[in-house]
């Protein structure tokens, strides 16, 4: 139950704007304590960052993201999973592409005498 409330707080306008300001102005503190974060504060920070990136995606008009998705915890998870899989597959494609390029180009072998 608390995780649901924690996420609701993290995506709220109040906390998101505070989070953005704290990121911009380093001297602002999110919490009363500036160090020795509690377990719940660490988790809350994680959700603040996640929702911050989701709102960023929304502004960038990325596919499959909307206000409704951000407001719904399960749809939000679905979007995050989809995005992480996309990232992985892009990385894999990039790697394969680099390999093909490498195979297609002339290779130069450096030996100790090539200095």
């Amino acid at each position: 139950m608390t995780e649901v409330i924690l996420r609701k707080l993290a995506r709220s306008y109040q906390w998101q704007s505070l989070y953005v300001r704290c990121k911009e102005i380093g001297s602002l503190n999110l919490f009363h304590n500036s160090d020795d974060l509690s377990e719940i504060q660490r988790r809350f920070l994680m959700w603040l960052e996640i929702y911050n990136s989701l709102y960023m995606d929304l502004r960038m008009e990325e596919d499959y993201i909307s206000e409704e998705v951000i407001e719904d915890d399960i749809r939000c998870e679905a979007y995050l999973l989809y995005k992480s899989r996309e990232k992985k597959s892009d990385k894999k494609k990039g790697k394969n592409k680099r390999q093909v390029n490498h195979e297609g180009s002339h290779s130069v072998i450096f030996t100790s005498g090539d200095k």
Binding site: M1, L9, D36, L37, S38, Y64, I74, A78, L81
Partner: protein, 216 residues
């Protein structure tokens, strides 16, 4: 007659626990918990707090953990998780199989989530959301059963004991005269023997939000 009384007692405990949780939950309370690394709460009109452990207290808890670990290992009535798993298997309960089922359910959940991510039609969204919830419930049921079966293991008992010790160390009440916070219980034994279940339940609940508890 005896069974009826036990049922009534169980229901009473469940109701009390639910009341404790309802008292504690809520956005306002969550926000208060998030803002500071100390949590203030009331029991019977009196203000208490739990806070993060100091380095010395962490060392004290580690010492207590080591002591308890040796005690548990030397206790012939106590067994490690692996030993319980083996015994259960001989009795026809396969915990490894339960873990495999949970992994299979997780893979299924992820497949449904990936379909849900690309869907916008309200009817399909609802259908897939419900599917995720059903699979999650099944997964949670298996997890509860597994946790319950292993609750007497040395690892789980040690974790409960160490959580209690932290709760004892971190629970404080206000000494208004001297303007400072002092420990509520003088010794761990006093804490363990306390009859104030509301205070103890709330202390456990809040302490959990403040500290990391690691398994051995």
């Amino acid at each position: 007659m005896e069974q009826k009384r036990n049922e009534q007692e169980t229901r009473k405990i469940a109701e009390q626990l639910l009341k404790t949780i309802n008292d504690i939950e809520g956005v306002e309370n969550a926000e208060r918990k998030v803002k500071d690394n100390k949590i203030l709460f009331k029991v019977a009109g009196k203000v208490y707090r739990v806070r993060r452990p100091t380095y010395e207290e962490q060392m004290e808890a580690e010492k207590f953990r080591r002591k308890k670990y040796i005690e548990f290992v030397n206790d012939k009535t106590m067994m490690f998780r692996k030993q319980w798993v083996k015994i259960y298997k001989e009795k026809g309960i396969d915990i490894n199989q339960m873990e495999a089922e949970m992994s299979t359910l997780q893979a299924k959940i992820e497949l449904v989530l990936l379909r849900l991510a690309k869907i916008q039609n309200e009817k399909d969204v609802k259908k897939l959301r419900d599917e995720v919830l059903t699979l999650r419930t099944k997964q949670a049921e298996i997890n509860i059963e597994k946790t319950d079966l292993l609750s007497y293991s040395i690892e789980d008992q040690l974790m409960i004991t160490i959580n209690s010790y932290y709760a004892y160390m971190l629970l404080e009440e206000q000494d208004k005269e001297n303007d400072k916070w002092i420990r509520v219980f003088k010794t761990y034994e006093d804490f363990s023997n306390s009859q104030d279940s509301d205070l103890i339940n709330k202390t456990f609940y809040h302490t959990n939000y403040l500290i990391y508890t690691t398994r051995i």
